[in-house]
Subunit: 199 residues, 2 copies
Amino acid sequence: MVRWEPGAAERLQSAAMELFAERGFAAVTVPDITRRAGLTTRTYFRYFSDKREVLFTGEDGLPELAATIFAEADPQLTTLEVIVQGLTNVIAPRFDGLWTSLRARREIVRSDEGLRERELRKVSIIAEVGAAGFRQRGLTASEADLAARLAAMIYDASLTRWLDQDSESPLADIIRETARNLTALAFEGAAGERAGRQS
Amino acid sequence: MVRWEPGAAERLQSAAMELFAERGFAAVTVPDITRRAGLTTRTYFRYFSDKREVLFTGEDGLPELAATIFAEADPQLTTLEVIVQGLTNVIAPRFDGLWTSLRARREIVRSDEGLRERELRKVSIIAEVGAAGFRQRGLTASEADLAARLAAMIYDASLTRWLDQDSESPLADIIRETARNLTALAFEGAAGERAGRQS
C-alpha cells in the first residue's frame, strides 16, 4: 500500500538542495535526503529515479508547452519572433520568484561533471521537442531542427545571463535582449560599431 | 618502463568501433578492445581515461583552433561571417573522408544515454573555448558567449545534417546553407514565403 504524502516531492527537493549545498553532491546519499525530509527512500524513488534526478524536475512539461506555442503562433511572425514570444510569455513567468533557488541549484550542477552533462541533456530535450512544434507550423524538418536549436540556445543563454546578474531582473527582458544581440551579431562588423556598447 | 606503440591510439579506436558495432557499447570491456587491437590495457589507459573516451578523441584541439580563427578574423566581417569562414575553412577540411566512420560512430553514441550526454558536453566545450576567441576579437563577455553558442550550434546542426544525408557531400556547403537558413528564420514569416522551398 502506497501512502500519499502531500508535498513529498517538494520536501525531498528542499532537503536535497540543503544537503548538496552543505556537503557537496557526491557526499550525500538518498537516505540522507529522506531522513532530512522525514520521508522514506521508497517515497523518494516514487518521485525520482536516482539521486541526480531530484535536481531535474519542476520543469516537466516545459518542452511540450513550448512546442505547442511554437506550433500555434501567428503565421505572420518570423520564427525568431515566435521564439521570443513563446519564451517571454509562457516560459519566463514560470521562473518568477525562483531566481535565488535557481542560482543555488546552478552552483550544485556546476560542481559535478555528471550533473553538468545531465543539464546539457535537458537543453537538448527542449530542442528535440520544440522541433515538433515548428514542423506543425509548416517548417521543413531541417528548418524546424534549426529553429528549435535556436530556441533552446536563446533559452539557455538568457537563463545563464539572468542567473549571472547580481540581483534579480525580469527574465523576459533578458530574453528579448538576447534575441536582439543575436540579430546584431549576424549583421554588424566587430570593429567600430561595437565600441561603447555595454555588456 | 613505457614502450611506445606506433599507431596504438588509432588501433585501439578501430578495435573499439568494430566491437561496439558488433556487440553494443555496454557489452564491450576495455580488455576486449585491447585484445582485439593486440595491445595491453596499460597502453589503453595511457591514451584514454575510460571506455567512453575512445569515442571522443581525434577532434582534440579543434575548439582551440576555432577560438584562434575567431580571434584573428577580418574585423570588417560580421560575427556570423567569421563563424562561417572559420568552420568552412578550418573545421570542415578535417572531416573530409571521415563521413562513413563518423556515421558509424554516431550510431554508437546514439545507442547509449551516457554517450549522448558526453557528446553534448563536447559541443558545449566548443562553445566555451570559442567564447575566448570572440572576446579577443573585442566582443563583450555576453556577446562573446552568444557568438560562441551560435558557432557551436551551426557546427552541430551542420554535422547532424551532413551525416543524415544518404551520400557524402561537402560539409562546407552544408555549413554555408545552415547559416543562410538561420538568417532566413530570423527574418521571414512562416507562411507563404516558405512554400515550395525544399528541405
